[in-house]
């Protein structure tokens, strides 16, 4: 009697636990890199939405197609904001057009909040630092962008090159430092690096030196080369290296720490080609994909694949921005950055 009662009570509980275990196993299997190759063959095509340049995106998708010639890849590229606006507008209308997202944290975090991404823990993730992958499995960094001050070598003597962010406050630079208003990641990076109160004071002091605000990274890089100003506070050393290679009189300062933000890869929640999306994510994160990225040249995020040139990261104090601390704050922090430097 006692035994029977025990059984009748336990049965539904055990069933529920078993069901939960099966669901968990399915979820883990699905979220951790299970790709149905037959399903991928049936899907045949997929769309990447990205905020990296169309030229670079095409190099990546062509390398992927070389490996999987039976897959057709469509590329769409817009700046991080327009990209987000298009995805959200499509989603509101119930039309989900992208399978894979390759974009900055700004767009990716918002899409995660809007439940437009799905967990995917690629087997390649074990080669990535903890700061470069989402603990919940929604995104993994494919590329990193370091930030430092760049300078015009004709206008700045070697011994004047700043080595510490504080040196930008030196009266020598008054009215001679350009700020790219389209790179709020730099502001967020320093906020996390220095601590919010100290960083905000620093930024206000810097703005008081009459910094030169510019609305475009390209314009900021090129005008630095042309000698319009000697110093550009929030440059991307990767870009500076590109124009250095062409012979421009520019270089970048090896600062005490380089705030660094990633370009993230994530899979769409409503992907029409979920298997190909996972396959592409795996490829981008694999050593092979990271080498393609390195030759573009972009800075690979995977441990063990050095950038080209390697001094972009080697021996430097790279400060990885804590992406998850930005969730839901992207717009506000960007606004704060712009206002601090006299922009609206």
């Amino acid at each position: 009697m006692e035994k029977k009662r025990y059984r009748s009570r336990e049965f539904p509980v055990l069933t529920l636990i078993a069901l939960a275990l099966v669901l968990f196993a399915c979820n883990t299997l699905w979220g951790s890199g299970h790709i149905d190759m037959e399903g991928a063959r049936k899907e045949g095509r997929a769309t990447i939405y990205s905020s990296i340049s169309l030229e670079d995106l095409t190099i990546l998708s062509r390398a992927f197609q070389k490996k999987y010639p039976w897959i057709k890849v469509e590329n769409y590229r817009a700046g991080k904001i327009r990209l987000g606006q298009r995805i959200i507008t499509e989603a509101r209308a119930g039309r989900h057009q992208f399978d894979l997202l390759l974009s900055s944290a700004f767009t990716t975090l918002e899409m995660k909040l809007q439940k437009l991404l799905v967990r995917y823990e690629s087997p390649e993730r074990s080669h990535y630092r903890p700061e470069l992958k989402d603990p919940e499995g929604y995104w993994t960094a494919a590329q990193i962008n370091t930030m430092s001050a760049s300078y015009n070598t004709k206008l700045v003597n070697r011994d004047e090159v700043p080595k510490h962010w504080r040196e930008l406050l030196n009266p020598r630079w008054k009215g001679r430092i350009a700020i790219n208003a389209n790179r709020p990641e730099w502001y967020i990076g320093l906020l996390q690096m220095m601590g919010e109160t100290e960083a905000r004071r620093y930024m206000r002091d810097l703005a008081d030196t009459k910094t030169i605000p510019l609305e475009s990274a390209t314009l900021a890089d090129e005008l630095l080369a042309a000698g319009e100003y000697p110093l550009y506070a929030n440059a991307a050393p990767g870009n500076t290296e590109r124009i250095m290679k062409k012979g421009a009189p520019v270089d970048w300062a090896r600062m005490n720490a380089l705030p660094t933000y990633p370009i993230l890869v994530s899979v769409a929640a409503h992907a029409k080609s979920p298997n190909i999306a996972r396959l592409m994510a795996d490829f981008l994160l694999s050593e092979e994909g990271q080498r393609v990225l390195r030759e573009i040249p972009r800075i690979p995020a995977r441990t063990g694949v050095e950038p080209n040139p390697s001094h972009l990261t080697r021996g430097l104090n790279i400060f990885y921005i804590n992406i998850n601390a930005m969730v839901g704050k992207g717009d506000d922090l960007e606004g704060e950055f712009r206002r601090t430097f006299g922009l609206r």
């Binding site: 042309a226 000698g227 012979g247």
Partner: protein, 556 residues
């Protein structure tokens, strides 16, 4: 007739009403376009109770008025010289002005930075060296600099529209004035200019609004100069992952209001349409004024103006396309010149697709807009149908819709309704139609006013149907304005970015996306190379068009 008219009205309503209603709705709603929200006036409160808005608005008025006035003076002067005088080299002048259109806005603005920056500006460096005044500096980073750069962007439009108006002028009235003893200048002031009042007002209205909503000059020069205009506010509201469409809408309504007031004044001033009719039953043939020796003075002034406003920025463009990075011209840099950026350009993915798509779109949207607005202009100018003022307004008001709002409206519409054009060239075509309707209607309307009603009446009296009359009498007489509007739309549509960026796909990529992508990738030399190729292509097209025009007797 009824069918054509109703069809045209419906088409204009279809193109213009969707984004306009969406703009209005989102400015009174707390939800983004395409979703249901609560009605509210909070957007207006936030937009107009913001004390920062008013100085920005005042800056906008100064900037737009200055740009409109300067571009009007420059463009009209050149148009008068080209169309109405026997100044030498005027053909070359026309080609040069037209090709200036096609230079992407970013490049043109950057060119002026490189010419007029106090630090590295070529003009400043040259004057300092030549005159020996080390302290001399023209500063592009000022309100004056912004007005100058914007006017350089706008004056080709003025030139084109005013040329069309001057071309359709009747010589009889001017001759009467001269016979009565008035001099050339008095005739110009009291007869010629008064007769082109509708075109002048149209041009001023368009240039004012274009300057008020322009983006490149305020962003690239204004921000650096610390002079902000109110498009900065619209941009700020939209440049967010969670855009404030409502606030952007509330700000845009000011532009709508300016457009409506402008149009209302235009209608008041041109109410007696027959006063401006110069193409009448008596036949007309614009006379070229013989300037005598003065023609060399006008020629020299044109060469000077073109040298400064066209040759300098174009040379800068060519120079930038040949140098590996942005640099002030020097002997040292000359040794680094190469064609590398042109080679890179040809390897750029989708370059060919973009070129073909842009050509198709440019040709199709220019033709469709001009045909449609010619019919609409007939209704608003020639007919006595009630509510014609509203129709003109409807066709003109899309000028006040920010490109991004237009893009989002079309996205929402064609994602929702079961017309399968999302992701095709059609959606871009509709976007361009909507965006360029205002330019079409102003050119067509200003030209329609110049045509007297007796020619039409004669045609109908001789038994022709309305459609026959429209096709065989009105359209040929409208040609100068039609062609001017067509050229303008065909060329500027090659530069359209703010709407296209939200609507394109890999198959429907257009040239402006390519320019933007190259620019964002830091490939400044390649953007310049693309700009040079576009200018070259347009020069060939303009030259061919002029040859064909000369053969059929349209252009001398």
């Amino acid at each position: 007739m009824i069918l054509v008219l109703v069809g045209a009205v419906l088409l204009v309503a279809y193109f213009a009403l969707t984004p306009l209603l969406m703009l209005l709705y989102s400015s009174f709603s707390d939800a983004p376009p395409g979703t249901l929200g609560n009605l509210t006036v909070a957007n207006f409160a936030r937009a107009y109770l913001d004390p920062e808005f008013y100085p920005l608005f005042w800056n906008t008025i100064k900037f737009a008025f200055g740009s409109s006035a300067l571009s009007f003076l420059l463009g009209s002067f050149l148009a008068w010289i080209c169309e109405r005088t026997n100044t030498p080299l005027r053909g070359l002048l026309t080609t040069l002005v037209i090709v200036l259109f096609v230079v992407p806005g970013i490049l043109e603005t950057v060119a002026w930075i490189l010419l007029l920056s106090p630090q590295i500006g070529l003009i400043n460096l040259a004057i300092r060296k030549l005159v020996g005044a080390p302290g001399f500096s023209l500063n592009v980073y000022s309100l004056g600099g912004m007005i100058w750069a914007e006017s350089m962007n706008l004056y080709p439009l003025v030139f084109l529209l005013m040329s069309a108006a001057f071309r359709s002028q009747d010589v009889a009235m001017e001759e009467a004035s001269l016979t009565c003893g008035a001099g050339n200048f008095a005739t110009l002031r009291r007869i010629t200019l008064r007769l082109v009042t509708p075109a002048m007002l149209s041009v001023m209205l368009i240039t004012f609004i274009r300057a008020a909503e322009s983006f490149e000059v305020p962003a690239l020069i204004g921000v650096r100069a610390g002079i902000f205009v109110f498009t900065t506010k619209i941009y700020g509201a939209l440049q967010r992952l969670r855009p404030h469409y409502g606030i952007a809408g509330a700000y845009s309504l000011i532009l709508l209001l300016i457009s409506i007031v402008g149009l209302f004044s235009y209608f008041r001033l041109t109410k007696a349409a027959e006063r401006f009719a110069t193409i009448t039953g008596k036949g007309y043939r614009p006379r070229r004024i013989d300037l005598g020796v003065w023609r060399y003075v006008t020629s020299a002034s044109c060469i000077f103006i073109m040298g400064v406003t066209a040759i300098l920025p174009l040379t800068n463009l060519v120079w930038s396309s040949l140098t590996p990075y942005m640099a002030v011209p020097s002997l040292e840099m000359a040794s680094l010149l190469s064609l590398k950026s042109y080679r890179e350009l040809f390897h750029f993915p989708f370059a060919q697709t973009a070129f073909v798509n842009s050509l198709v779109l440019s040709f199709a949207s220019a033709s469709a807009v001009m045909l449609l607005t010619s019919v609409i202009a007939w209704i608003t100018v020639k007919s006595k149908i009630r509510g014609r003022f509203l129709l003109d307004n409807l066709a003109f008001l899309p000028i006040a819709i920010p490109g991004i709002v237009l893009g989002v409206s079309l996205l929402v519409l064609y994602l929702t309704i079961p017309i399968p054009i999302y992701g095709s060239l059609w959606i871009l075509f509709i976007a361009y139609m909507t965006k360029y309707l205002p330019y079409g209607i102003r050119t067509a309307s200003a030209s329609m006013i110049q045509i007297g009603k007796e020619l039409e009446e004669a045609s109908v009296a001789s038994g022709a149907s309305w459609l026959q009359t429209f096709r065989r009498i009105l359209l040929p007489l409208l040609m100068p304005g039609f062609v001017a509007g067509w050229i303008y739309i065909a060329v500027v549509s090659l530069r359209e970015l703010s709407t296209s960026i939200l609507l394109y796909t890999q198959q429907t990529i257009v040239l402006s996306i390519l320019v933007f992508d190259l620019w964002e990738s830091g490939l400044y030399s390649s953007v310049s190379a693309l700009g040079v190729l576009m200018v070259f292509f347009l020069m060939v097209v303009t030259w061919t068009a002029r040859r064909i025009g000369a053969r059929i007797g349209y252009i001398e």
